[in-house]
């Protein structure tokens, strides 16, 4: 969580400085979800991420130097500078890619789960992250139906952050909880406080175990809030800054971390500060690394269109 927070703050600053090309979408305030979920996974498990995917990538174990280099568009980035923030992936840790298409990941994760269970006969689990906005894509329906019908080892993780770009959840969606829909597919669901990493982790462990036992998919709805604009630079004319900052003040998973420690766990503010300081140093080094890397040579242009 600390690395994700520091990483996103650094990316925000460098994007506004003009050092990072394209556009970026930040995960600030939602760190507990990616962290809690990926904490329950092995390297051989898969995740399908979103355009707001830096947190998922870090939580799944991607190298932050190479991640930062990718976001800067450098040749030493995870994707050789060809993907950028919205199309970042690290196959070495099972991070099968962010997706520039909202709702593009459900079927990919479900297909990977099908391959694991029905064809390759291993016990790998796949996770797909998606927001409340993405839950309105038809792709969800097709993937959720198949996943439940065939009891595939896939976990649908809804980051219910209340905003689909500039459009508030209530204006486009009638159900109280996005996960209410899971019931219609015959899929169990659990609603968790997405600001509480322990709660997310516990739900993830249960869902992962269930999936590995061959009992099928679980829908985890993690209630959170999108603190940043849709993208860095979003003027956010559609909502009041004070309200957002109040929510952040009240629910920030980092500042409220100690309040949520499970009974019997000893952990101090000083220890947390130490971890944060280490994360800050790690991210500063990643930024330095990214800046020091070269942009890809033009000779790279035609590579990787095809294997053969």
């Amino acid at each position: 969580m600390c690395t994700i927070r520091c990483f996103e703050e650094s990316v925000k600053k460098d994007f506004l400085n003009g050092e990072i090309p394209g556009f970026v979408h930040l995960y600030i305030g939602e760190e507990a979800i990616g962290t809690g979920i990926c904490g329950a996974l092995r390297d051989t498990d898969f995740i399908e991420s979103t355009h707001r995917g830096h947190g998922h990538c870090i939580a799944k174990g991607a190298d932050v130097n190479k991640m930062m280099a990718e976001i800067f568009g450098k040749k030493d980035g995870l994707c050789k500078g060809k993907g950028g923030s919205m199309h970042i992936a690290d196959f070495s840790v099972g991070m099968l890619g962010a997706n520039g298409v909202v709702g593009g990941g459900y079927n990919l994760a479900t297909g990977a789960a099908l391959a694991s269970k029905m064809i390759l006969k291993n016990d790998n689990v796949s996770v797909v992250f998606f927001g409340d906005g993405a839950s309105n894509r038809g792709t969800f329906h097709e993937a959720a139906n198949v996943a439940a019908a065939w009891k595939l080892p896939v976990i649908f993780v809804n980051e219910m952050n209340c905003w689909a770009s500039t459009t508030p959840y209530r204006t486009t969606t009638a159900v109280e909880n996005i996960s209410d829909r899971a019931l219609g597919y015959g899929m169990p669901r659990v609603i968790v406080d997405g600001q509480n990493v322990f709660e997310v982790y516990a739900a993830a462990c249960e869902a992962v175990e269930r999936a590995r036992r061959g009992e099928g998919p679980t829908f985890i709805e993690a209630k959170t809030y999108r603190i940043e604009g849709h993208f860095v630079g979003d003027p956010e004319k559609y909502r009041k800054k004070e309200e957002t900052m109040q929510i952040f003040h009240d629910t920030d998973p980092l500042t409220h971390f100690l309040d949520k420690l499970p009974a019997g766990v000893e952990f101090t503010q000083a220890e947390l500060d130490e971890i944060l300081a280490a994360a800050r140093a790690k991210v500063a080094a990643a930024k330095e690394y990214a800046v020091s890397c070269e942009y890809p040579d033009e000779s790279e242009y035609f590579k990787d269109v095809y294997v053969d």
């Binding site: 898969f46 399908e48 980035g77 995870l78 994707c79 050789k80 500078g81 060809k82 993907g83 199309h87 992936a89 690290d90 196959f91 099968l96 890619g97 997706n99 520039g100 298409v101 593009g104 459900y106 079927n107 990919l108 994760a109 479900t110 297909g111 990977a112 789960a113 099908l114 391959a115 694991s116 029905m118 064809i119 390759l120 790998n124 796949s126 038809g138 792709t139 097709e142 993937a143 139906n145 198949v146 019908a149 590579k303 990787d304 269109v305 095809y306 294997v307 053969d308």
Partner: protein
């Protein structure tokens, strides 16, 4: 040599590849219990239990799930029932399947084959008769093939399954039932994706086609031969990446080019061939390029109207005689 149908040839290709690679599987609508709407999967479910999968009517899952299965380490073949339905899952084709390798800097490999039965079948009308291959030659990252005879149907499908890139395999509904010579397995010559074939040598005009369009090309060449005109017939087989060298060499020899396909002529796959010959081989040409395809309309139902959608060998003969 033994003769088998196009449909049987695709089934042999599937069986041989599934035998060879345990990670090959196939999913689509009505392929296991029914054996495919055109019978092209019959027998495979018994031979490979659990690896021929009936899906719900969910094209987005069929293709997107296939891409995901490929990312997860399998080698999927997915069936589109009718090529017309690919529009349902276009994002999965052009943003996911085609882009994963490039945008992830070469980390991803998508060894997927999308099989798509296409073409007029008599009364299929607007949404069950189309040939949509041309949409896909505009998309870098996927390969597009469309064989015209049983032997190629088998060898091209085997090559497609063994290819580590995504391949769209268009198989014509009328061709399924047609028989042709297919050698025994030990005498087969592997097909290399991207290669065209000069099927018949000639010196007066080059006729280029693929898939069912080859019937027109061959018939026109026969008719022309009766009048002493020698046509060279080129079967493109792969539409993307297509064999530019083969076509340019042929035009260099014959100095005339005639293109024919069943799909809508405007923006068709062969428009790319025409444009390339105009760009790179204009000096070889002694006459304007002739191009035959369907009119720019949806496909009508009534037989009296559907026949107007078709191209006939006589059209080619008339055109070619006009430029000799």
């Amino acid at each position: 040599m033994r003769k088998i149908t196009f449909s049987d040839a695709t089934r042999e290709a599937m069986a041989e590849e599934m035998e060879k690679y345990p990670e090959v599987f196939v999913m689509g609508e009505d392929i296991a219990r029914q054996g495919g709407i055109f019978g092209q999967f019959k027998g495979l479910p018994d031979e490979f239990p659990g690896r021929v999968i009936d899906t719900p009517i969910s094209e987005t899952f069929i293709v997107g799930g296939g891409v995901g299965a490929a990312l997860g380490g399998a080698r999927p073949v997915v069936d589109m029932h009718f090529a017309d339905f690919i529009g349902v899952c276009m994002d999965e084709v052009f943003n996911q399947m085609a882009k994963a390798r490039y945008m992830f800097g070469g980390q991803a490999k998508i060894p997927l084959v999308l099989r798509a039965p296409d073409g007029l079948a008599g009364g299929g009308a607007a949404q069950h008769s189309q040939s949509v291959e041309s949409w896909f030659i505009h998309i870098p990252g996927i390969k597009v093939v469309a064989p015209s005879n049983p032997y190629d149907a088998k060898m091209v499908l085997k090559a497609a399954i063994e290819c580590d890139d995504p391949v769209l395999y268009f198989e014509n509904k009328v061709l399924y039932k047609e028989s042709g010579e297919v050698p025994e397995k030990e005498d087969e010559v592997p097909y290399e994706i991207g290669k065209a074939r000069v099927e018949r040598e000639g010196k007066d005009v080059t006729i280029v086609s693929y898939s069912i369009g080859m019937k027109n090309a061959r018939a026109a060449a026969d008719l022309l031969a009766k009048d002493g005109i020698s046509a060279e017939v080129v079967d493109l087989i792969t539409l993307s990446p297509w064999d530019k060298e083969c076509v340019l060499n042929s035009v260099k020899k014959t100095h005339r080019l005639c293109l024919v396909s069943e799909c809508v002529k405007q923006g068709g796959a062969l428009a790319e061939v025409a444009a390339t010959v105009a760009e790179e081989g204009l000096e070889y040409l002694d006459a304007p390029i002739l191009r035959y395809g369907a009119p720019f309309t949806p496909i009508p139902f009534a037989p009296t109207l559907e026949k107007l959608y078709r191209v006939y060998p006589e059209d080619l003969v008339k055109g070619i005689k006009g430029v000799l």
